[in-house]
Every structure is written in structure tokens, then in C-alpha cells.
């Protein structure tokens, strides 16, 4: 696992050290106070809420806006909301949104330039938005953040736009009590229990005895919130109940991905005819890359006003599924859908290791659920394995 904290620290001096540990119980009846404490400390809360038949992440004023009593049913190419039998606040898995839309927004300005007497001046955009408290971050999403930290903060260059948003955010994780049909975090070692990278973590406990949350402190920042809450002591019984919640999610995992030798499998199968079969189904619509919490590709747009004296550069999400993505004078490099799907999947599951030291996939299942034709990368990996071309044809073995 990528250690999020060290990366964030690398980019700043303000990040506090993790103080592991304190655990306590917060009753459902006192949950509103979490909102009040966060708001009093100046945070804008972002969390799950129901919008037009889907659970999305948006700014929240009160816990009433949470998807109370709702869950989701997901399969390749389908997503449906359903009523639960209880009043759980976090009884769903993940929707089409991920936290990257707040840390690395779909569209944001990089700089403004103004024409002067004999040239132009450039002013970089500084983030002046709210300090977000992300409520309901799943284990796989923590891992996705750690992966994007590595991209934007972990190299020779640090992205200031990502960094300022990332540093100011408070992370409240929620351990999964239910896994979706398209989930496979346990194959990717990223869930269902939140390990590191959070300020506070909750486990929702619902039984005939009541409805409460087991709270775990992950950092000093989280501890400051924790100390202001009406926390009761959590004993062995509550801890056991929380373990059981996660164990149940683990048992429900709808998908599996055999990661054994997967990187080399992809590297030696650039020429596998199987890519043609996927390409026949794939619409090159880019949905999978938009919903994926780790995909980071972007493009820039230059804009000028009517006077021509002001120019701006904006960055927006881009996708390796578009034709323009690889355009160079004379034509695009990846003309075929076959080449584009191959690029995407090989990046997620193979080249990412060589670039950033981890897998680029956390097993959240979004790309499977939101693919309009239900293409499933766990299935594609299986098919590739079944038609393995054997000898290493390409890849970086010469370097190794």
C-alpha cells in the first residue's frame, strides 16, 4: 500500500502525524453532532446523497441528506437503488462519483495571463475553496487517493492544485458492511476495511440492540473532532460486532481478480487477438475512465476574452479512449478501439506498477457497473489468461 500520509507530508509541513488509536462509540442519536462539530471547525461536509436515482457525493448540510435506508444493486452495466430493511446511513457501496472530483476537479483553471505593455504576466490559480470534510470514504477510495497522491505529489514535480485541495481535506472513512456484485477490493488488497490514510473511520453497527457507530481515530486532526463528540466507551462486544460487519462485506465480494503474474501476463499479450473481441463490444465512450477513482489523464484548454488581453488555461479530465488523446501531426497513434482498450487495461493492471510502484486498480468495480455494454475487466483478465500467448513479446523485461 502507498503510505498517503508520508506523501502528503512530503508536499507540506502542515500535515499532522498520525496518532493511532483511540476508539469509541457514537450513538445514531448523537450523529448530528458530528456534522455540528465539523461545521463549527469550518469544514464543508461532502458525503453521499441520493440524486436522480443514484448515490452521488455532494455538499451536505445535515445528516438527513444522507441516503438513509437506501442501498444499491450493481451488475455489469446496471445500477439500481433499493430500499433497505433498516435505516442505515451507509448501507450502499460506491456510486459513479469518486472523491477525485473534489481533489482533482473535472475542470479547473491553472492560470490567468494578462497582456501588458511588452509581453504578458502570468498568475497561477491558488485554491481558495472550502476545507472539505469527506464523509463516507471507502477503503478502496482511500487506496485510490493514495494512488493519486503518488501521481501528483510523489514525483519530481508536485501539482500545487491537487496539493492544496488534498492538504486541507479531512477524511472520514466508513468500513464497508456490504460488498457490491462488481466489487473486488479484497483481490486488490485495498478493502473492505480502511487501513490507513483516514483521520477518522466509522463502522456502522445496527442490531436489535440499537444503531451506533464505532469510531476509530487515525490522526491528530481526527482526534480533535473525536474529542468534541459525545463518545461512549467501546468494549470487546462492539469491536467484535464491527469486525463481523467487515467480515460480512468480505464474504459478499461479487467479483474476483487473480493478480498472480498479472503484470507479466499483460506485457506478453500486447498482440493477443483477444483484444479484437473486446474492441467489438467497446464503444470507446470513456465512461470507465471518468468513473475510475485513479484515472488521472487530463488535457488543457486555452481561452481568451473578446478584448484579447486576458487568457486562461484550464485543465479538464481527458480519456485514453478518445481519438484526440494520441493525436500527433499526421494522425492519432491509437486509431483502433482495440489499441485504446488495451492501453487502458494494461495501464491499470501492468504499466502502473512500473510507473508508480502499485496497481492502478483498487477493485471498486465502477468501470464494470458504468460500462454501457457491461465490459468487465476481471472477465477480460480471465479471458486473456485463458488465451495467454505464452512467451514474452513485449514489455520491459529488457530493463529488469
Amino acid at each position: 500500500m502507498v503510505d498517503t500520509k508520508t506523501l502528503v507530508e512530503k508536499g507540506s509541513k502542515t500535515q499532522e502525524k498520525k496518532t493511532p488509536g483511540a476508539v469509541g462509540l457514537l450513538e445514531r442519536g448523537a450523529f448530528d453532532q458530528l456534522f455540528q462539530v465539523l461545521q463549527a471547525q469550518g469544514y464543508t461536509i461532502v458525503g453521499p446523497t441520493v440524486r436522480e436515482g443514484v448515490i452521488l457525493y455532494d455538499e451536505l448540510e445535515s445528516p438527513d441528506e444522507l441516503p438513509i435506508g437506501w442501498t444499491d444493486e450493481q451488475e455489469a452495466g446496471t445500477y439500481r437503488m433499493q430500499k433497505r430493511e433498516d435505516e442505515a446511513l451507509f448501507g450502499y457501496t460506491v456510486g459513479p462519483h469518486s472523491w477525485k472530483r473534489f481533489l482533482f476537479p473535472p475542470k479547473h483553471r491553472l492560470f490567468r495571463a494578462t497582456r501588458g505593455k511588452d509581453g504578458f504576466d502570468i498568475e497561477e490559480d491558488k485554491y481558495d475553496g472550502p476545507n472539505y470534510a469527506f464523509l463516507g470514504v471507502r477503503a478502496c477510495e482511500l487506496q485510490a487517493m493514495a494512488i493519486q497522491d503518488n501521481v501528483f505529489l510523489g514525483g519530481d514535480h508536485v501539482d500545487p492544485h491537487y496539493r492544496s485541495r488534498r492538504e486541507s481535506a479531512l477524511i472520514i472513512a466508513v468500513n464497508c458492511g456490504k460488498a457490491g456484485q462488481t466489487c473486488f477490493c479484497s483481490s486488490m488488497g485495498s478493502g473492505p476495511k480502511a487501513g490507513t490514510g483516514f483521520d477518522l473511520a466509522l463502522t456502522e453497527l445496527i442490531s436489535k440492540d440499537g444503531h451506533a457507530f464505532l469510531l476509530e481515530v487515525g490522526s491528530k486532526k481526527g482526534n480533535k473532532i473525536f474529542k468534541k463528540l459525545p463518545i461512549e466507551k467501546a468494549g470487546k462486544k462492539e469491536q467484535k460486532a464491527a469486525d463481523a460487519v467487515v467480515a460480512e462485506a468480505e464474504a459478499q465480494m461479487g467479483r474476483q481478480l487473480d493478480t498472480e503474474g498479472l503484470k507479466d501476463l499483460l506485457y506478453r499479450n500486447y498482440q493477443n487477438p483477444h483484444w479484437e473481441e473486446v474492441a467489438e463490444k467497446c464503444l470507446s465512450c470513456a465512461n470507465c475512465t471518468m468513473v475510475c477513482p485513479t484515472c488521472f489523464c487530463s488535457t488543457v484548454e486555452e481561452m481568451t476574452d473578446l478584448s484579447g488581453d486576458h487568457a486562461e488555461r484550464w485543465r479538464r479530465w481527458d480519456s485514453c479512449f478518445t481519438m484526440d488523446f494520441t493525436y500527433i501531426h499526421g494522425g492519432s497513434v491509437r486509431q483502433s478501439t482495440r489499441a485504446r482498450y488495451r492501453q487502458w487495461m494494461t495501464h491499470k493492471l501492468a504499466t502502473w506498477f512500473d510507473q508508480f510502484g502499485t496497481s492502478g486498480c483498487v477493485g471498486c468495480g465502477r468501470c464494470i457497473t458504468w460500462c454501457p455494454v457491461g465490459i468487465d475487466l476481471t472477465e477480460e483478465a480471465r479471458a486473456l489468461r485463458a488465451s495467454d500467448q505464452g512467451e514474452l513479446q513485449t514489455g520491459m523485461q529488457a530493463e529488469a
Binding site: D118, F120, E124, T299, E302, A311, H329, R334, Q335, R338
Partner: protein
């Protein structure tokens, strides 16, 4: 990573669509040191930003020299600049031709078309430290004689007794007395010791493909052949994802690669 203001101090027109801009930092400071083969991102106010190799002498860093072919929005706008115009610049970025490691070896520089631009700094360096290298060969091919870059310099280099310079064109009219044919045809006649050679190759991908094959045919090992790759590029610092080439990013792992490192990728189409 914001563009720094530079001012255009000299413009040279080479062919109908190719020109060289020399630019120095607007604040009067020297331009940062660069290695032969590296590139800069050039930004034109309100128009856009493009990767362009540095084609000047690495021994002179008062200004950056860029040779550019006008092919689209930004490069055409760059073509219309006048002396004194302000350009934003970020860089230098990327890997370089291993001129230091090549000391003691023979040097083969093979260029196709505008591919000579990113190789010129390597040639400048080698010629400036001529005693550190063995035989030096420049092989250069363009489509027609009208497409030849740096014509005056080519003529000067051809007059050097310690350097073999061969120029060829694909098509020519009767007033061309030089060679006609593709650049790879020059390799059999090039004088170098294949077992003690570093070869630097830049041009269109097909040209590089055949040049590498010819060099290997003469016995040059793949780890002694270097090629410069080109892909769409937006940020040059590894964030935008566009320039991915297999597991590498051309902006930081490239553009110059030992052929041995990427031969498997190079053989894969649409990568």
C-alpha cells in the same frame, strides 16, 4: 510549473514551413543549462503550448534555439512571430543523447527531416570536443533539397576533414548533384567501428525503424543505439498521461531512449 517569459531575439527561415527562433529570458538572466536532446514547452499567449526540442549549442545558454515546423495551431502562430515577441517557456525537460558516456566511441548521427533539430546540440557538443571521440558520422536525409535544414552549416560540416557528412534526398530535380535515396542507404558506406559506436537516431518512426535495422545489421548493439520518440504531450511533467509509451512517460523517461529499453514497445503498433 508556470511558463517563464522569453523574448524572441532572432528568427531564421529555413524552408517554406520551417524556421528557427532564438529566445532569451525576458528578465535578462541566463537560460537554464540543457543537455542535447532535451525539449522545452513553448507557450503562446492565449493560443497554446507545444513541446519543441532545443536545437542550439549546449555550450551557449544565454539563449535557447528552437527549430520548428509549422503544422498546426500553435506552430503556425509561432511562425508568425516577430523579433521582440514574448513567448512563455517551461523546461528543459526529458532525457538526453548520452554524449558523455559516448566519449571514446565512434559517433553515428542519423537524422530524417526535422529530426536533425534535436540532434544538432549533440553534434555541436561532439564537434566542440572532437578529440574525445573516435570517428564521427552525420547521415541526413530529407524529402527534397528544398527541405534541407541548416544548409550553410551542413556545407561547413562537409568541409571538415575529421567528420564524415552524407546528405541524401528522396526526390530531386536535375540541379541536385548530391545523393538521391532514403537515409538508410547511407549506412553501408558510413565509416565507423560498429563494435565501438554510439548511434543517435531521430526522424519519423519508419525512418528510425529502418535505420535501427541497418545499424544492427552492421553489428551495432541495441544498447548503443539511441532514438528520440514523439507523442502527444500536454504537461511535460508526468501528470497529463498523454505521452505514455508502454510503462514509460516520454516527457520524463524519454524522449531519448536506448533502443534496447524500448525495442519491444517499438515493434508494437498503436502503442
Amino acid at each position: 510549473m508556470l511558463p517563464r517569459p522569453y523574448r524572441v531575439i532572432r528568427i531564421t527561415r529555413h524552408t517554406h514551413d520551417t524556421f528557427t527562433l532564438e529566445m532569451e529570458p525576458a528578465d535578462g538572466n541566463p537560460a537554464p543549462y540543457f543537455q542535447p536532446g532535451q525539449f522545452n514547452m513553448l507557450y503562446l499567449f492565449g493560443v497554446g503550448e507545444v513541446p519543441i526540442s532545443i536545437s542550439g549549442d549546449p555550450g551557449h545558454t544565454r539563449a535557447y534555439v528552437h527549430t520548428i515546423r509549422a503544422v498546426g495551431t500553435v506552430t503556425e502562430a509561432l511562425c508568425n512571430l516577430k523579433i521582440g515577441a514574448q513567448v512563455g517557456l517551461r523546461g528543459p525537460f526529458g532525457s538526453s543523447w548520452p554524449v558523455k558516456e559516448a566519449e571514446g566511441s565512434d559517433i553515428v548521427i542519423a537524422a530524417g527531416g526535422i529530426g536533425l533539430a534535436p540532434l544538432r546540440p549533440a553534434l555541436y557538443h561532439v564537434l566542440a570536443h572532437r578529440e574525445r571521440y573516435g570517428k564521427v558520422v552525420l547521415l541526413y536525409g530529407t524529402r527534397t533539397p528544398q527541405d534541407l535544414l541548416y544548409r550553410k552549416e551542413l556545407e561547413k560540416w562537409r568541409g571538415l576533414f575529421h567528420t564524415q557528412v552524407e546528405v541524401t534526398v528522396d526526390h530531386a530535380a536535375r540541379d541536385w548533384f548530391g545523393r538521391v535515396g532514403v537515409v538508410t542507404k547511407l549506412i553501408p558506406g558510413a565509416r565507423f567501428d560498429p563494435f565501438h559506436t554510439k548511434a543517435f537516431v531521430c526522424g519519423p518512426e519508419v525512418m528510425m525503424r529502418f535505420t535501427v535495422m541497418e545499424l544492427m545489421g552492421r553489428g551495432v548493439e541495441t544498447e548503443n543505439i539511441f532514438i528520440s520518440m514523439e507523442r502527444n504531450m500536454k504537461c511535460a511533467v508526468g501528470f497529463c498521461g498523454h505521452c505514455q509509451y508502454g510503462p514509460t512517460f516520454i516527457c520524463k523517461d524519454g524522449p531519448v531512449y536506448p533502443y534496447s529499453q524500448i525495442q519491444h514497445l517499438f515493434k508494437t503498433r498503436e502503442l
